[in-house]
Subunit: 469 residues, 2 copies
C-alpha cells in the first residue's frame, strides 16, 4: 500500500466513525501536510482518491468537504464482467410479477421506478394546464396532434441550445413519454432478429422492448461509476452485426453511472466509425447533484447518428406522459412511426408543459428537486450502513434516485424480494435488469421518497432479512 | 321493370326535380294508391325501395318523408369485387404524402380525418380539466398510470352496460387513443408474416399498421351499405390461416357502411367457429343519425374473442388522446404491451374525461353533434348533385362524417388529388384505402365541417376538375 493510500484510509476511517461529520471541511492540504508529517503531494493524491471513492468533494476556492452520505462504510460494486453476452430476451414475466407487487399504496416503495409525486410542482402545473387549455383555439386541438405544440418545440430547442446542442425544432418529435420515444427509435433502425447492444445491468423496460420487437441483446457491462465498458463495446461492434446501441450515458438506471465527457466523446467516435446509430436514453440528466449538468453524447453528434430521448416524467410532470426525441437523421422516420402508433401525445398536456416551461420556473424547481434527492440519497446510504452487512457494496451515484446494492454472494434477491414484500416493503431485484438473469445477489432501491421513520424501519427489516440468508 | 319500380322512379323524379322538397311528407299509401291508380301493395313496395335507396325515411305513426339530401341524383356505388386478395402492404409513402398536404390551415379540409373542432364542447371540457386536475392527489398522478383512472373505467363500463354489453372494468384497457388500442390488439394476436383479414376499402391507418408489423392483408370487400362481405370472409377463413380479423362493423371508414344486427351476429358466429379473434374498430359508433344506437359485435361475444376498440377523439375530445379497448380474453396481454410501449395515456386527460362523462352532459352533446353532422351530410350530397357528373356514385351513410364517391372510370383520383390541392382543396384519394391500390376513381370527402360558401365553391371546383378528365 502506498503512502497516500494509507493516508486516505486514515481519513476515511475518521469519516466513517463520525469524527469528520457530513458537510464538515477536511483539513487543508497545508494543514494536513504539517500536522500529519506527509508531503503536500501525498495529501493531494489521498484527497483525489477519497473524492474518487465518493467520500469527499471539492468546493471551488473552499477546499474539500465530507459528502452527506460519506459515513457509509459500504464499498462500491465492481464491474460485473468484461464480456459481452448475446441472448434472446425473455424477462417480461418476471418484470410484470415485480411491477404487479408495487400496486399496493401501503407498500414502502423502494422498488418503484418513480420518485415521490410530492417532489413535483403539481399545483403550479395544474395552473398552467387550466390557463393554457382555456386559451387554446379549436384549430390547435387538431393541428398540434400531427406536428406537436409549436411553443413546446421551441422551449425544448431552447433548452437544448443552452446545454450546447444546436438543433432545429424539425429534428424534435414529441412522444407519449420517453418510453414511446425509445420504442419508436428502436423500430426505426431495426428489424426482428437484429442485434442491439445494451447495458448490463440495463433498465428492465429496455429488455421488455427488445423482447417485444424480437431483437437480440448484446449485453455490455457497465462500470458502477464510469458507465458502459467501451473496450467491450468496441470489440462487439467489430465482431458482430450490431444494428443499434442503446445506453444511458448519464445517471444510468440502475447503477447511476455517468460517463465522463471524454468517454462520451470516445463513445461517439466509436459509433461514428461503425456508422451504428445510438439511442441515448437521457431521462435522468436533469437530476445531477453537482454544479455542472452532464453533457450528452448527442452534443458531439455531427452525423445525426444519435437519437436523444428524454421526458418530463422524472423531473417535472409524472403522469402527463410527454416525452420527446431529438432524432437526428431518423427524425422523419420516427415521426411517421409515431403517427402510425399513437398519432400524438395529449394536446392539453403538451400545452400545459409549454406554458410551465415558459412561466413556471422550471430551473428553480429543478434546483430544489436535486437538493431533496441528494439529501435523501445521503439518508439511505447512512441507513444502509447502519442496517446492512458490512460486506454489502453500494453505488454512490452523483444524481438520480436509485442505489444499486450488491449483497453477499449467498443472498438470493428474488427470494429477498418475496420475503420483503411479505413485510410490506418492495424492491427491484437484480435479475430483472438482465437478459441473462444475472445480478442474483443485487437489488435496486429507490430513495426518491422523503426519508422518514418508516423508511428507516424498512431498511432495518431488509437488513434482518439479508442477514438471514 | 316491375310496376312498383316504375312507380318508385316516378316519385324519385319528383324528389330530384324538387317537386317533393327535403323534409316534405310523401303521399300516404292510401292517398297514392287512389291518386295514381296503383295497388296499396305496389305503393308499399315502391316506398320500401325508395327508403332502401336513401331517398325517403319513415317516421313512426307519421308516414314517409323526403330525406334532407334526397335531391341527390347520384346512385350508390356497387360492391367492388367478390374476391378476397392477399397481399403485402406497402401504402405508407402514399398515405404520408396525402396527410402532409393537409397541414395548410387554408386548405378546404375535405381530405381530413377529423371533424371540425368547433363541433366539440371544448370550453366545457377545459372546465372539467381545470377542476379535476386541481383536485387530483399526488398519489393518483402515479397510480393512474398503471391501472387507468378508476372513475373513467367506471364511466366506460357504465356506458357499455347501457348499450347492452356487460363487462368488468378489468377487461378495459385505457390507451393513447384508439390508434394505440388497435396497434396493441394486433400485436397481441399476431406475429410478423401472419395473415389478417381486413376490409376493402379500409381505413388507411389499418394498412399502415399491417405494414409496420409486417403482416399480410387479406382484403375482404365491403358493401357500401351492408358492410363486409361475409361469404368472402367465410371462404377466406376456411381456406387461409388467418390470425385475426379487423373490421368496423358500424359506420365503416371510408364507406360509412353499417352491418345489420343480424349480420353482426352472423359475423360473431363465424369467428367463433374458427376461433379467430376479431378487432372491432368502433370509433364512429356514437355518430349514428337514427334513433337507435348500432349494436357492436362485442355485444354478442361470449368467448372473449372480440377486442372492441374506441376513443373520444371523434365524438368528444380530439387531441386528448384517450381511447380504450374492451379486450376480452386478451385484455391482460394488451395491458402489458401498453406498459411496454407508452406506459399510459396522459393522466390529467383521463381525469378530465372522467369528470366530463359524469357531469358534462355527454349525451346532450352527442345529440347536437349528430344533428349537425346529418345536416352537413345533406348539404354535401346536395352540392355533389349540383356539381359532379350525373354518373358519379356516392354512399348514403347513416352516420359519421365521410362520403365515398365513385367517379366515372376515366377519373384518376390521385391526379384529381394533385389538381384539387393546387386549388387549395384537399381530399382523400381512393388508392390510400387499399393495400392493392384499387379504387383509382374513388375518393373520400369529409363533411365534418360546417357547410358554407367556401365549401360550396370547393365542390364546384372539384366538379370542374372531375369533368375535365
Amino acid at each position: 500500500m502506498k503512502r497516500y493510500e494509507k493516508f486516505a484510509d486514515e481519513i476515511a476511517d475518521l469519516i466513517r466513525t463520525g469524527v469528520l461529520a457530513p458537510g464538515e471541511k477536511v483539513p487543508s492540504v497545508r494543514h494536513a501536510s504539517r500536522t500529519y508529517g506527509v508531503s503536500p503531494s501525498t495529501v493531494f493524491q489521498a484527497y483525489y482518491l477519497l473524492e474518487d471513492r465518493g467520500l469527499i468533494h471539492a468546493r471551488p476556492r473552499s477546499g474539500y468537504f465530507v459528502r452527506e452520505h460519506a459515513q457509509s462504510p459500504l464499498h462500491e460494486p465492481e464491474i460485473s464482467s468484461r464480456q459481452a453476452q448475446t441472448t434472446e430476451v425473455d424477462v417480461s414475466e418476471l418484470v410484470f410479477s415485480v411491477l404487479g407487487s408495487l400496486k399496493d399504496p401501503n407498500t414502502v416503495p423502494f422498488g418503484s421506478a418513480f420518485p415521490s409525486p410530492h417532489l413535483f410542482p403539481l399545483a403550479r402545473l395544474a395552473r398552467s394546464m387550466a390557463q393554457s387549455i382555456r386559451h387554446m383555439s379549436p384549430h390547435e386541438v387538431i393541428s398540434d396532434m400531427t406536428g406537436g405544440n409549436p411553443n413546446l418545440l421551441r422551449q425544448l430547442a431552447l433548452r437544448y441550445m443552452v446545454s450546447g446542442v444546436m438543433l432545429s425544432p424539425d429534428e424534435l418529435v414529441i412522444t407519449s413519454g420517453a418510453m414511446e420515444a425509445l420504442n419508436l427509435c428502436l423500430q426505426a433502425v431495426t428489424s426482428p432478429g437484429d442485434l442491439v447492444a445494451i447495458e448490463a445491468p440495463a433498465f428492465y423496460a429496455t429488455l421488455q422492448v427488445l423482447e417485444r420487437l424480437k431483437l437480440k441483446a448484446v449485453e455490455i457491462p457497465v462500470h458502477p461509476r464510469e458507465g458502459i465498458d467501451l473496450d467491450t463495446l468496441a470489440d462487439s461492434l467489430a465482431r458482430l452485426p450490431i444494428k443499434a446501441c442503446w445506453c444511458m450515458s448519464s445517471l444510468q438506471n440502475p447503477l447511476g453511472a455517468s460517463m465522463s465527457e471524454e468517454k462520451k466523446r470516445a463513445l461517439y467516435a466509436l459509433i461514428q466509425r461503425h456508422q451504428v446509430p445510438l439511442i441515448e436514453d437521457d431521462v435522468y440528466a436533469e437530476l445531477y447533484f453537482g454544479t455542472q449538468p452532464p453533457k450528452s453524447v448527442k452534443s458531439f453528434d455531427r452525423d445525426g447518428l444519435v437519437m436523444h430521448c428524454s421526458s418530463f416524467s422524472k423531473s417535472l410532470a409524472p403522469g402527463y406522459r410527454v416525452g420527446w426525441v431529438a432524432g437526428g437523421r431518423y427524425a422523419e422516420q420516427i415521426s411517421r412511426l409515431k403517427l402510425m402508433t399513437t398519432i400524438s401525445p395529449s394536446v392539453p398536456a403538451q400545452a400545459a408543459l409549454a406554458d410551465y416551461l415558459q412561466h413556471g420556473g422550471y430551473d428553480r424547481h429543478l434546483r430544489k428537486l436535486r437538493h431533496a434527492l441528494e439529501a435523501q440519497q445521503g439518508s439511505m446510504l447512512a441507513s444502509a450502513a447502519r442496517h446492512f452487512p458490512a460486506s454489502t457494496r453500494v453505488t454512490h451515484p452523483t444524481g438520480g434516485y436509485f442505489l444499486w446494492f450488491e449483497f453477499p454472494e449467498q443472498v438470493d434477491s428474488l427470494k429477498l424480494f418475496q420475503l420483503a414484500l411479505a413485510q410490506g416493503i418492495s424492491l427491484a431485484p437484480g435479475p430483472i435488469f438482465s437478459a441473462t438473469r444475472r445480478f442474483g445477489n443485487c437489488a435496486r432501491l429507490n430513495y426518491g421518497h422523503p426519508w422518514d421513520a418508516q423508511s428507516e424501519q424498512a431498511m432495518a427489516v431488509l437488513g434482518q432479512i439479508i442477514g438471514s440468508f
